[in-house]
Amino acid sequence: MTCLKKTTIKYFKNLSFAFTFLGSGHSFAVDNIPKDTKSFNQEFNTNIFAQVSSRGQVLLRAQAQNNEELDDNRSFRLEYRHKFLKNTKALLSYEQAFGLRHNEDWDNPQVTWRWNPTYHRREQIYGLGFQYKKAIDKKRRQALKIRTRLLLNTFNDQQDLSLTLGYIYALNTKNLCLVQSRFNFPVSYARQTVNYYSLYLGHLYFFTKTLSLGPQVKYTVQKWTESLSFKARTAKTYEVENQILSVGLALNYYPKIFN
């Protein structure tokens, strides 16, 4: 009897261990896929638009974002904008960014799958694009804007096509509202057609003709899919998204170097 009892107990112990093992293996299968997240961020933008010639403008931009889910990121951009046709500009930019995330950053260097920290990782992005604006009322208080840029990130040689559609409304000479949507189309490196889109609403108050400041609100959806490395190791695919609501401030300065 005692022997049967011991055997039975041992059997059930083995059985429970087997279930536990299988169960934990199942939780490993979930843990190697990132989760959808929602976050609330703060963002601050400083733009200096320096008019350097009758047709040329240089933009210096510093952007900082405090991210709840991702790494805090910051970027610095130098861009030349040249007006070559009425209301049409060509754009050429160079940017250094820190804290960006890519599909390949989902990794398990030791045991646990996680997003690699990228706060200190510097990436260089070159951009080429065009911008066109059109007034939609006679008093030129409302205008539509379209901007497209082809971006090359030399960190991972990934290319993106960025499209921005905007609506500008001047309430009066001192107050201006900007509403715009931005879409990012990954070129040849991701499964999605669009892996980023945002809706931005901003207001600028012009203290003087060269200095403005205003609040901004932005809703963003960023998507990630499995990297080639992940798929090779796990034979799995996924698509996850990070929904971000960010609030912040934009400071614009317009020095006139050229008379």
Binding site: N47, K134, R140, G202, S212, N259
Partner: protein, 215 residues
């Protein structure tokens, strides 16, 4: 002898007739040398015309030149050193006005503001002085060409139709460029027009959203 006197008197007054204008449209508060005036009052050399808030005056000169003086503007008609001169020389003391030179008129039209002189080579242009900033002069041309020479300029700057310039005190006249906001100005100068008041704001030149970027 009497005929000679009459001819001399005619010549004496004819230049002043050419140089003087008559008020064709008067809205609100309009004074000449601080005296209230009415329609058909004369504005002659050496006098200063002032238009008050929410007011307007349109004048036509004997040589066919037209002047529309906007609200809160003070402008004087300078006396020419040459008695026989058929020139109109205006000095914009403050505010803004529209000027139209009669193509067939002999004599020159010159507009001065601060230390800047603008020679009209036909026909219609707008000048604003001290409206936004105390020493800023805005000038734009609707038709014809205007030659601008400021104290900071080595040579005169020709401003063509559709172009405008800004002249800040002591600085060079800006390069003439197309200023889209000038389309909003009320260029009507005929007394027969019903709506003559200019409502376009010079400040709007600061925020031309097609020229300016915000992100």
């Amino acid at each position: 002898m009497a005929i000679k006197v009459l001819i001399s008197l005619f010549l004496l007054f004819s230049h002043s007739l050419f140089a003087s204008g008559r008020i064709l449209v008067k809205k609100g508060s309009v004074t000449i040398d601080d005296k209230a005036v009415s329609k058909k009052s004369r504005f002659t050399s050496g006098q200063t015309l002032k238009v008050g808030k929410k007011s307007l005056a349109v004048l036509r000169f004997e040589n066919g030149n037209t002047l529309k003086v906007n609200e809160e503007t003070s402008i004087s008609l300078e006396t020419s050193k040459n008695k026989d001169s058929k020139d109109n020389v205006f000095k914009l003391l403050r505010g803004s006005s529209f000027f139209k030179k009669n193509k067939k008129a002999s004599g020159k039209m010159t507009v001065k503001a601060s230390s800047v002189s603008m020679g009209v080579r036909g026909t219609t242009f707008f000048v604003s002085y001290g409206v936004e900033k105390p020493e800023d002069i805005y000038m734009c041309v609707n038709s014809g060409v205007v030659a601008v020479e400021g104290s900071g300029d080595k040579n005169e700057v020709l401003v063509k139709e559709g172009e405008g310039v800004v002249i800040s005190k002591g600085k060079k006249t800006s390069n003439p460029k197309f200023l889209p906001w000038t389309k909003n100005l009320n260029w009507k100068l005929s007394p027969k027009e019903k709506d003559l008041i200019n409502k376009a704001n010079i400040e709007e030149s600061y925020n031309d959203m097609l020229e300016k970027d915000y992100d």
